[in-house]
Amino acid sequence: MTASHDEGGAMAHRVRRTASVASMALVAGLLAACGTTPAAARHVVRPPTTAAYPAQGAAPSSTDPLESPAAQQAVADVQSSLGAVDSGLAQVDTDLSRPQADS
């Protein structure tokens, strides 16, 4: 095994680790929104993205579609919307429990 090969392997390893951490953070956030504990989320590992295999030159089509920026944005939109809905419904409860004399 040549030195340059070792170097490339080490770099690929670092890239994979970075991608793995980012993927875990994504899923941890996703699961946290669903009430899953962070401890459980730490055991979840997303499928690697193409960024994890730069040396292989994997085509974008081989990427997990849920990893796409558009999908991640959609998930974030849903998550934030549901949070706002919860607070909105709490506000509605307050509105509807207001005494009639306070009209």
């Binding site: 392997g9 690929a12 390893h13 994979r16 993927s23 899923v27 996703l30 699961l31 929104a33 669903c34 899953t36 055991h43 979840v44 590992v45 997303r46 499928p47 690697p48 994890a52 295999y53 040396a55 292989q56 081989s62 990427t63 997990d64 579609p65 849920l66 796409s68 558009a70 999908a71 959609a74 998930v75 939109d77 849903v78 998550q79 934030s80 919307s81 549901l82 706002a84 809905v85 919860d86 909105g88 419904l89 506000q91 509605v92 409860d93 509105d95 509807l96 207001r98 009639q100 004399a101 306070d102 009209s103």
Partner: protein
Amino acid sequence: MRPVLRSVVALPVLGLLAVGLCPGAALAATADTSTTTSPTGSTGTVSNPFCSPALFRAAQQRAAQALVSRVTQLEALSALVEAPSSHLSPSDQSTLAHDITAVELPGIEALQPEVQQATTCPQVRQDAHAMVYDYRVYLVMTPQTHETIVADRESFAAGRLSALEPTVQSAIAWARAHGRNVTDAESAFGDMQARVSSATSALAGVAATVLAQTPTGYPGNAAVFLSARTDETNARNDLRSAFDDLAAIAKDIGVRGAGTAGSTTTTAS
């Protein structure tokens, strides 16, 4: 001051009933309390003891404060309606913005100088009656705004989840193609689709129905707001479940894929 007398005077000082914040008292707005004739026609009794000449200033101030509170509330509602994060549909946003800023707010603000310039209890009472019955800031405009925003936010979330369905389907196919067992993911995906569909059905027509309510429709339309809240709560539960399904799919694919991906990358490096 004797307790009974104190309790009788306490409310009038607050001016709550004096200025017609209570619908019952507001109904008396048309009565001329400068006389000593009671609503029942008997004499010798002040028709509304809560707005006597001695308490007029307190009643006037209470009315003025109530108007200020309503202006503040309407401005807060307006800010919510204008906020992009409310995800209101353009037509719903336009309707609410018009009702708040072109009807309710100017109407309430027009009453402010009238109350300040009032010199008699009947005048204050008439303005208070209009403040309550003509505008219903708290019992109609407020839940109307909040419920419309909730309904549109939920519709937005349902739309996002629905738009994600092909992507989720592709992700499952992608995982299957990479040798993963996607049985659970497929099951969760089926539930996700059903939940989104159910939420969309629950929300059908909710915003339009809520927006159709008017101040004069109260208290009859209180049931409409309660019904809308039930629909919105059901939709929220469905959307939460759909989002849980989405998380389960991601977890399922990820957990099952980790080993495969790891062995693949180990070989590759």
